[in-house]
Symmetry: C2
Amino acid sequence: MKNKLKIGIIGLGTVGCGVVKVLSRFDDIEIVSAAVKNLTKKRDVEVQTITNNPMDIVTNPEIDVVVEVAGGCEILEALKVAVQNKKHIVTANKELLARHGAELFDLARENQVAILYEAAVAGGIPIILPIKTSLAANKFSFVAGILNGTTNYILTKMEQENLSYEDCLAKAQKLGYAETDPTGDVEGFDAMYKIAILANIVFGKRIDVNKIYREGITHITSNDIKLADELGYKIKLIAQASELESGELDIRVHPMLISKENTISDVNNATNAVMLKGFPVDKVLFVGPGAGEFPTASSVVGDILSIKSEFDKTGEILPMTTCHHSVYANQIEIEKTQNCYYLSIVAGNNLGTIGKIGSACAEFGINLSSIIQKGINEDNKASIIVITEKSSEADMNKMVEKLENENDIKVINKIRVMQ
Amino acid sequence: MKNKLKIGIIGLGTVGCGVVKVLSRFDDIEIVSAAVKNLTKKRDVEVQTITNNPMDIVTNPEIDVVVEVAGGCEILEALKVAVQNKKHIVTANKELLARHGAELFDLARENQVAILYEAAVAGGIPIILPIKTSLAANKFSFVAGILNGTTNYILTKMEQENLSYEDCLAKAQKLGYAETDPTGDVEGFDAMYKIAILANIVFGKRIDVNKIYREGITHITSNDIKLADELGYKIKLIAQASELESGELDIRVHPMLISKENTISDVNNATNAVMLKGFPVDKVLFVGPGAGEFPTASSVVGDILSIKSEFDKTGEILPMTTCHHSVYANQIEIEKTQNCYYLSIVAGNNLGTIGKIGSACAEFGINLSSIIQKGINEDNKASIIVITEKSSEADMNKMVEKLENENDIKVINKIRVMQ
């Protein structure tokens, strides 16, 4: 006879309700109580007892596992109390883990409890546990992903329907893919939290989320997408982390041109993708739904079942693989990174513009990979697209500054190109 | 102080050597002994003791885990002895698991040992453990994959270089991607073993490998690939299993036309891919290296580390999630399956051929989705391509038989189309 695992849930929004529905199929898991913000809100699930105080959940001696799907950092104190009360945690809270993970994991280690968080990165895609288990033999050099469904949806629509960023954002908001205040998604915060969590487990070091370079998609125009397409690229918001030979980590979130030959260029709409490169496995790619009631519940319940499986084996829950890294990574600044660039330039219809661009690049040691003038527009301006070979971000910035000091040359956009 | 985990390896071919090299990075895992066929063969790895008798490994009381990377079914008896001697098994042997898994897993359950086999399906791609852990909350309805690197390499070359099957097979053999006798790969046996293993864990039932429909790629011509391309498809060898509403399983291996809009149509060369569809996760896709010394070693060592992690937690190795299904699936025959079809037809340059094809399809209730006549060739023959909507395989076969009874109409190829 197996013991019942007893769950308390903090948060009964979309994901919380999905978790309750999926757990109803498992007889040996019981939801004892749920904490919500608004006790009177109508929900399509029922839970034995409901409270509006998370402390009721984290101090309830009956509860084995606290499932936190409320989001935000204000829940940290309650989760610390849960850990001190020897409760295991399953959470989908990327911001909390990225900003306060170190503190929470230290406490979990002291208290011999597990913190599982498969749902915090890439929704339904199994990625955290596979890295820690099936791929545990690897030393990774690179992890990158399309980790935010909202921005991928917006960029896909901009490309497929030739619409502006603003129109596609409005569309996403109407469909519930973007929030009324879309900042967290479109400015790359959400993807930044997720790459911080991935970099932590992939490189085995603590990550300072404040040192991650972050740039959103609001400056991408449908013209950039069209020009990139003609050159054989798509534009995606990419979160990536790589380990340099020096041992330093280069972690950032920004839009990138991705060659159409790269499989992830085909990852469209709200779908997410995670790529890993390591030895001995070489390259692996995971693609799937990055959000949503049920895909996220799949990962949350997967974590609960992992704890259940430990529980069944020994009658108690042993501490499972959690973050046990204590050293902070040495993270480099964006100015020190090396990139290929796409530059969209508008210049007066003057003789010698291409020559000036060529000279400015040469001055800072930047090789051109291609340069295309796209005719003269109605304002008698020339639109010029440049793709460069690898240069440092610092040199590129100096070159752009120099070009902009020229009379009648303006760099409209600078987007990095994935190698 | 953690205990050392002691390993015996059966097989020191490409994968076995990869495992030894990768394990050399782990101080707390010791390779005690290896069994090989040929004691005098030069290898670029060293192992403490080498034997040519696998029984020395499986009866060695010092050994905790037997790693079997020899392949073939003749090793079954030795592995049974290993299990009876309470040794855990890590194996990459798809044929053995597909043909004799039930027997071995029953014995493992009796003896409370684990059998892990991440490397048996899709090489370096983590798929077995993610299905059993992160995705454990799901009820799956479909699993499909490009599970054989050799055939995917051949089909990719046929497409990209417009070469015949025979030329590409020769190329693959030269590069070591195909064996001198390529039957196991090109006739779909390898993919069949792998889909049997996947279907077993995805649907929780035992699979009779002899009831899986299997068709290889030897009948695919570069002309089929060219015509499919024009229609928006690529041709891939697909292994797939789906659960019907009746609860029966439809499992098969055969070439398929895949729409270019489907991400897996881009999985080229020796790369493998596995797609899953289930609730609550919806669709997920895993892509990565399907074979090779190091990618396969990544999965083998991942399994060893999973056992090590159990070992460290409790001082002994607890039986891990293994196959505990005892009911055989009800597998339907290919004649009862429903498919869309691509037909390549050659007919005399006579009036009424298209009409005859249309009538034959109508007689068996088969709707045409498109029909294209590709001019008249030098033999004064018309090449006609038909894509049908869904029909039963039985009806399609009757229709083809009827057409071939017509004077001067020949169905050159029939390939199923993925929906």
